[in-house]
Amino acid sequence: MTALLQAAAARAPAARIGMALFVALFFAWLFGPLVLMGITAFNSSAFPRVSPWECFSVEWFEALAGDKALMEGLRNSVVIGLGVVALAVPTGLAGALMLMQVGERARPWYYSVVISPILIPGVVLGISTLVFWDRIGAMFGAGHKTFFYDGVFLTVIGQATFISAYCMLVFISRLQRFNPALHEAALDLGATQLQAFRKVLLPFLKPAIASAAVLAFLASFENYNTTVFTIASESTLTTVLAGKVRYGINPSVSALAVVIAAVTLLFAAVLEVARRRRQRAAAESEKIARGLLRSRTRKKPLLLEPALLMIVTVFVAGAGTAWFAGSIGLEECKAAVLEEKRRDAEERVRTFQQRQMFRRAAPQAN
């Protein structure tokens, strides 16, 4: 950031410095609250706060693992996330392929309908899903034990309604770069429609399928508005979290945030490394085509990439250090803090008493 400021200052105009400052402030705002929350996860204080700092501690992480409701919610969230991926990715794919084929006149209508779930408030989607399947269940005379009333099923359906549209957008943008002649070439060479789809289109869509799946899982995992209506008597990580946050705050929620942030950062790092590898491979191919290079260098497995190894090492070392530092001397520190608090309280009691005494003494002085 300072380097940016200096670079901007070198090119002088005040506007540039202003812009750089604005960008810096913006990112501070973006990360500040999250970083502060992360810090509170390591404070032994029972209330999530940065100051007063009591003891460096990892006990809130331990509390996390022992939290039954949270773990139950986490399990449901994963199940629902996988269900949504299984439903929304094919649906989004079909939706995108269909868009390429509907006639000129029908296209705006079709697009409006399938894109609408993105714009409909999640609350409304949740309610409509709940009402609809309830009515359908009643029509079939299904009992309350059937899937029509099952929180996990309803949540998968409710979330997939709009997540399918996200996936569709991913597929549309990839399909726009597809050369339709490839499909025709496959047919021309004798492939059936299904073979052309499987051998030509599907491999081309593979990266989009992967990103749609990741997107679907993340969107499902973090959804609250729809889920809170469809989940019925079950719970997901977000509903458990919301309950916790609303009715009694403690730093184990911060600890969870730290875990999630660490996982996503690691994930982002893997993605970035994978992207660079692809770029390098593409550059190499072009060199070969222009005769500058004889053959490809042998590919290392992704996990052995030095950059990735380094990042993983840093993560593991960081976690280990935190663990070590957070458990060593924690009891002593806590005792000390407690002692200090006790002394503090005593002090306050003493001043109070003195003041009382003084007040009681004062009228006599009069």
Binding site: L182, E184, L187, D188, L189, G190, A191, K199
Partner: protein, 365 residues
């Protein structure tokens, strides 16, 4: 194996637009046949009807005598080389080449062997494991041909496959394509807007304009005996005189033009009669200075400028009464060197080398 391709009364419509109008043509088995025409003339549409990507609105497509109605592109004995080649970017070269065998369920070992044979044929031995991205333009071109040939088609369809290449490579690929066609011996149907490609490679050429076939014939016939004004102006260069038919006899007509009365051979099927609007075409190399006095047609002109082209000169002339400059090409010799801009000359040409067509649309440019 090779097959004859026939189009019978084929009409292709897209809504109100007619892309092909009553096409009747027979392409002999084993022939190198070209459809030549400017972009938008319907030649690609016809090719798609042959390959099965679209069904004609009317009429029949026959390959080897069999009606292809309702038979999809994957069931027809044709293979198409796409304009942008459409190589599968995620497959290696050898997988590309043997895709047709893969979808038929041929095992990997046999496919690999066949790929090596075909790589040999297209002079790219040992390159099978490269990715498509690692090939140069010309190499890609040849891989596309090998991929189509691997399907063992009876008819190979080529949709302007050379248009993406640079000039040098394009010229080399012409020879190579013709060579491959002779070796595999199957019918080639070639689509192009480049008359040079069509003339050098083809046994027969169909010239198309706005969904209609104007003329079918070998390169010589099209060049020397164009049937319509469009063919005369599209194939090769031509000088044009507009006029009205004065007298029509057997084998020769007289056309009254601004440059005087010109005698010419009437185009086949033109059926010119006195009073008809007509065009007279004469090739630049058929115009003469020297023995002009002995020619049946003579025109007075000024030399405007000349361009040196190596083995010959292009001379541009302002002819008396002509609306656009005439072009004359002559062999580069002493006589040619003596011709200077500004000179007054008399041009002549033989009636049997000039063609009179019915007045009609001309090729653009």
């Amino acid at each position: 194996m090779t097959s004859e391709v026939a189009l019978e009364n084929v009409w292709i419509r897209f809504g109100d637009f007619v892309a092909a109008r009553d096409i009747n043509i027979t392409i002999r088995a084993g022939e190198f046949f070209s459809f030549l025409g400017p972009s938008g003339c319907g030649k690609t549409t016809l090719l798609r009807a042959v390959s099965g990507f679209l069904e004609p609105s009317e009429g029949r497509v026959l390959i080897g005598g069999a009606d292809m109605a309702g038979i999809g592109p994957n069931k027809r004995p044709t293979a198409l080389i796409f304009q942008n080649l459409a190589l599968f970017p995620l497959m290696s070269v050898w997988e590309n080449i043997t895709f047709a065998l893969e979808v038929r369920g041929v095992g990997a070992a046999r496919r690999r062997k066949r790929a090596d044979e075909l790589l040999e044929l297209i002079a790219l031995p040992g390159q099978g494991d490269k990715t498509v991205g690692e090939l140069s333009g010309g190499q890609r071109q040849r891989v596309a041909i090998a991929r189509a040939l691997a399907a063992e088609p009876e008819v190979l369809l080529l949709d302007e496959p050379l248009s993406a290449l640079d000039l040098k490579l394009r010229q080399r690929m012409r020879t190579e394509l013709r060579d491959i066609q002779r070796r595999v011996g199957i019918t080639f149907i070639y689509i192009t807007h480049d008359q040079g490609e069509a003339l050098t490679m083809s046994d027969n050429i169909a010239v198309m304009r706005e969904g209609v076939i104007e003329q079918v014939g070998d390169g010589n016939t099209l060049y020397d005996r164009p049937n319509t004004a469009f063919v005369a102006s599209f194939v090769g260069e031509n000088n044009l005189f507009r006029g009205t038919v004065g007298a029509a006899e057997r084998g020769a007509v007289t056309v009254e033009t601004a440059a005087g009365a010109l005698r010419a051979r009437p185009a086949t099927g033109a059926a010119l009669a006195a009073g008809d609007d007509a065009f007279v075409f004469i090739r630049p190399e058929s115009l003469r200075f020297d023995d002009a006095m002995e020619m049946e047609n003579r025109i007075g002109a000024h030399i405007q400028r000349r361009e040196f082209e190596g083995s010959f000169w292009q001379v541009f002339l302002d002819a008396d009464g002509a609306e656009q400059p005439l072009k004359l090409s002559m062999v580069n010799d002493d006589a040619a060197a003596a011709r200077r801009p500004g000179q007054r000359v008399t041009l002549g040409f033989a009636a049997e080398l000039a063609v009179a067509t019915r007045a009609g649309p001309l090729a653009a440019g």
